[in-house]
């Protein structure tokens, strides 16, 4: 029988994978991908709790999250394109103009 715990553990694994991806990858696209992974990990938790508690509020939250994620990806990709145009690469280590 698959219970709440299984979903939550999966969600935690996905989230940790996302964090690891952000910290280890240097390519902007991969970082954006990792962010999506973390958002979806959160979504999975929401859905699981929604089902477990029989409350539709969790599913409503997920819709909001998906809208925000879409916006974030739009802006993120635009930034990535500009970055590529000005720097000629998507390596974040080379994008350090804001160094103090």
């Amino acid at each position: 029988m698959i219970g709440l715990h299984h979903y939550l553990v999966l969600s935690a694994i996905l989230f940790a994978a996302g964090v690891y991806g952000i910290l280890s990858r240097r390519n902007v696209l991969l970082i954006l991908l990792s962010v999506e992974l973390m958002l979806n990990a959160a979504n999975l938790s929401f859905i699981a709790f929604s089902r477990y508690l029989g409350d539709l509020g969790g599913q409503v939250f997920v819709f909001f999250t998906m809208v925000v994620a879409a916006c974030e990806v739009t802006v993120g990709l635009a930034v990535a394109i500009l970055l590529y145009r000005t720097r000629g690469s998507l390596d974040t280590d080379q994008a350090d103009w804001l160094k103090g």
């Binding site: 952000i22 910290l23 974040t92 350090d96 160094k99 103090g100």
Partner: protein, 613 residues
């Protein structure tokens, strides 16, 4: 009557303001304004005197309240009683004469209008002191006198000596004034202890009636107030400014020495005598100061070559007499001598001014035989000289002998010093008179004559120098605080003989020029050297300033440079710069670093939150 007093006070100020505002370029108008204001003030003063006489000399005052702090009030007003009425007459009368005299003396001076503005301001300040109703007001005018004396002594400011003398007079008197200010605060607290916070003389006097006892605190307060007198009335050890003040124009010297400034100190003592009578220790210190000043100044006057310097030291010496009289317990005797001295010292200075004006030198050894050339000056100078020496029946005789009699009643040391001073006074004045007016001239002079505005003040002052002893002023000024002085035939005759002896000795030495044995000069050479160097007091003060004050200033400079600027100001800047530098390194610009810190922070927060439960 009180309205008149307000007018007397403010007329000279109005004249000074008008001169500065409008007539600086019109010499005649300036002097007319100043002299006019002074004349009207004098007439009003006479009117005040007679009205006061009509009221049987009952004191009257009116004042406005300047500042009111809870139940304490700072007042500004006029007080008319015997003391201020007689001083009003002296200040406006003698001052007025000096104003008119100045129109001739300063005739071709480029700063003519400025000079009269200064004189008017001076007169205003002095009248303010005379009419003051309280300590606060007297202190304000006290400082104004200091400022205006600075302006007048430094009138010829192009000359370095004059500018320095002005500064010296101002700074030296300021040193005393610090004490005065502290004294005023102490009196205020004493008054608070006695029942009412006030600085008003009348109220204070009634608070500190018979049986009042302030103990050591009162003595200290009296001595602090006396510090102000030390400065203004040029008592030892703050007397050093007075001889230097001779750099000013001669009428200014006459004004400072006779009617204003130095008189202010003695006047203050007389005005606040109700305070001093409660402290015999303070009175003793005052008497000693006066005694030392009188004797020292008379000794220094013996070796001066400048006609004005001789007179300056004689003023110091006479002020010493006055202060000693107050210290010995009779303010009225001091005031009496102040009044008579005002007449003959103004006379002597104006006479000296007339001589200087005529032959353009101040060195007495370049003068001689001037009695024939300047008869009015010469004969009036003789009257002033005899009055100062205290020869019967001139005014100085009465006032000085009152002081000597008082001294003989107290302690023989005071009496001996006073009598010795009387001898020296007669001697150095004889030296001055005979050398300048009767001895054979050592150089030919062609003095131009004496103008009427010079002669008339001289004659008037000569009349009062001769006659003012007969009005019984000493008795008239007597209050219940003053010690009784009993007429003593022996004291009077001894002082008369001593004075005549002094004159005779100076006649022999300086008029007949009898040859003195060489050995005398050798014996007295060291003493002469000490006297010519003014007891090395000026050198001592110079050393004090250069060694002590300069080093202390250097120390302060180092403290400021290294501790305040280098350590505190620059140190603050350096710490800020350093911490900024450190914090800057956190901004690497690498997104991974930020993300790492961010996630570590979140993990830490969440971990802490979970564990804390």
């Amino acid at each position: 009557m009180l309205t008149l007093a307000w007018l007397v006070l403010f007329l000279p100020l109005a004249a000074a303001a008008a001169i500065l505002a409008g007539t600086l370029r019109r010499n005649f108008l300036s002097s007319a304004l100043a002299c006019g204001a002074m004349t009207v003030s004098f007439l009003f003063s006479c009117a005040i005197f007679f009205q006061l006489a009509g009221r049987n000399f009952e004191a009257a005052e009116s004042h406005v309240v300047l500042v009111s702090i809870r139940n304490f009030e700072l007042e500004f007003g006029v007080l008319v009683d015997r003391l201020s009425a007689i001083m009003l007459l002296i200040v406006t009368g003698i001052g007025g004469g000096i104003f008119f005299y100045s129109t001739e003396y300063m005739k071709d001076d480029p700063g003519y209008s400025r000079y009269f503005a200064g004189l008017s301001l001076f007169a205003f300040s002095m009248l303010g002191i005379v009419l003051s109703t309280n300590f606060f007001q007297i202190f304000v005018f006290w400082e104004l006198v200091g400022v205006s004396s600075y302006l007048l002594i430094g009138h010829w400011y192009q000359k370095n000596e004059a500018a320095d003398a002005g500064k010296k007079a101002f700074i030296t008197t300021r040193i005393g004034d610090v004490g005065f200010l502290i004294g005023i605060l102490m009196v205020w607290s004493l008054a608070g202890g006695a029942g009412k916070e006030t600085l008003n003389f009348g109220v204070l006097e009634s608070l500190m009636g018979d049986g009042f006892s302030g103990g050591m605190y009162l003595t200290l307060a009296c001595l602090a107030v006396f510090c102000g007198v030390l400065g203004k009335s040029a008592q030892f050890p703050l007397h050093v400014w007075l001889p230097d003040a001779m750099e000013g124009p001669t009428p200014v010297s006459a004004l400072i020495h006779a009617a204003t400034m130095v008189a202010a100190g003695v006047y203050l003592l007389a005005r606040t005598f109700f305070l001093f009578v409660h402290s015999s220790q303070a009175l003793f210190v005052i008497a000693c100061t006066g005694c030392v000043t009188a004797l020292m100044a008379a000794l220094m006057a013996l070796v001066q070559d400048d006609i004005k310097k001789v007179l300056a030291y004689s003023t110091l010496s006479q002020l010493g007499y006055m202060v000693m009289a107050v210290g010995l317990g009779s303010a009225s005797a001091g005031m009496y001598h102040l009044v008579t001295h005002a007449f003959f010292k103004a006379l002597l200075f104006l006479g000296a001014g007339s001589v200087i004006h005529a032959i353009h030198t101040q060195n007495i050894w370049e003068m001689g035989g001037l009695l024939r050339r300047l008869p009015v000056t010469g004969w009036t100078f003789l009257i002033g000289f005899l009055a100062l020496a205290g020869i019967f029946p001139l005014s100085g005789f009465f006032s000085k002998d009152e002081i000597l009699t008082l001294a003989s009643m107290r302690h023989p040391v005071f009496y001996l010093a006073g009598t010795l001073t009387a001898f020296l006074t007669a001697f150095y004045m004889g030296r001055l008179f005979f050398t300048v007016f009767t001895a054979e001239p050592r150089r030919e002079h062609h003095p131009h004559g004496e103008a009427a505005v010079i002669r008339i003040p001289l004659l008037l002052l000569a009349f009062f120098s001769a006659a003012s002893g007969f009005f019984g002023l000493g008795h008239w000024l007597h209050t219940h605080h003053d010690a009784e002085i009993e007429w003593n035939f022996w004291v009077v005759s001894i002082s008369l003989i001593v004075s005549l002896g002094g004159i005779a000795a100076s006649y022999l030495v300086y008029n007949l020029r009898i040859p003195l044995p060489e050995s005398l000069g050798v014996v007295f050479a060291p003493a002469r050297k000490v006297l010519e160097n003014k007891f090395y007091l000026d050198d001592f003060y110079d050393a004090l300033v250069q060694k002590v004050q300069q080093n202390f200033a250097g120390l302060c400079d180092l403290f400021e440079r290294w501790v305040v600027v280098e350590w505190m100001v620059n140190g603050t800047a350096r710490v800020t710069a350093w911490s900024g530098d450190m914090l800057r390194r956190l901004q690497t610009g690498r997104i991974h670093f930020y993300a790492l810190v961010f996630s570590a922070g979140i993990t830490a927060l969440v971990g802490w939150w979970v564990l804390a439960r």
